[in-house]
């Protein structure tokens, strides 16, 4: 399919859309660090609801780390493929099977831990 991106309007629109998505991501990131988005209890649980974390859950930490590394690695892989290709990409690069298995196992581990805690508390 021939490229349809010709003229100042599509160029301007695509630049502004990219900036908009970047601005949205940055505003959410800023709110996370600023305390505007509640991040309490991301790795721990307050069992007795007294405002103090009682249980620490390592499976949550591993899920966050593997998610960050996995999605970051995929983004870097895509950028490398786009810069290495002499022509523009017409398809997003496929995700390596190992990465999918790693993310699936990590999510399963996280859900198993959550299910086990729910069972334990009745």
């Amino acid at each position: 399919m021939a490229p349809v991106n010709a003229g100042p309007i599509p160029d301007l629109l695509s630049i502004v859309l990219t900036l908009w998505l970047l601005g949205l991501a940055l505003s959410i990131l800023y709110a996370m660090f600023n305390g505007g988005i509640q991040m309490n209890g991301l790795f721990s649980t307050d069992v007795d609801n007294d405002g103090i974390a009682d249980e620490f859950h390592p499976e949550r930490v591993q899920l966050l780390l593997i998610s960050l590394l996995g999605i970051g690695g995929y983004a870097i892989m895509t950028m490398n493929a786009a810069s290495a290709s002499s022509t523009a990409l017409t398809v997003l690069p496929d995700v390596p099977e190992e990465l999918m298995m790693l993310l699936g196992a990590s999510n399963t581990f996280y859900l198993t831990g959550k299910f086990g805690r729910n069972l334990k508390r009745g």
Partner: protein, 149 residues
Amino acid sequence: MFPFDLAMLVAIVLSVIILGFGAVILGMILTGQIDLSDILVESGENGSRKASLSRLQFLMFSFVIAGLYLVICVESGTFVDVPPGVLVLLGISGGSYVVSKGMGKGMHKQSGAAPGQRQAGGHAQHSRPQPVPMHAQQASESQPNVAAQ
């Protein structure tokens, strides 16, 4: 000449509308009119509110894949194909979020059913009186003789 001008005009108007929507939403987020404080929050087992890791993961995956898709589309000038692996990646994240949310709902239902189970056991039958519905209270006030009988 005329169709090109008309197409250009429509493109400009559509672009202004789309960008206007985006600017309004971003402006409302930045000024606090759209509240994002609960975007990652889920209710805990004991009614507490805590940040959800599966929501954070879903947010990250959505932003990164949408951003990459947009950048590649802008570079190539056309819609690019999405391979099944990327859809599986989003499916893993979304499925984890749904299952996690389902577990929380299941726990809330179980904890909500516990008092009823105790009552069925016969230990809570002499508890405090139940609140009377408003329409039943009004009916008894309008017909005092019936209520007295």
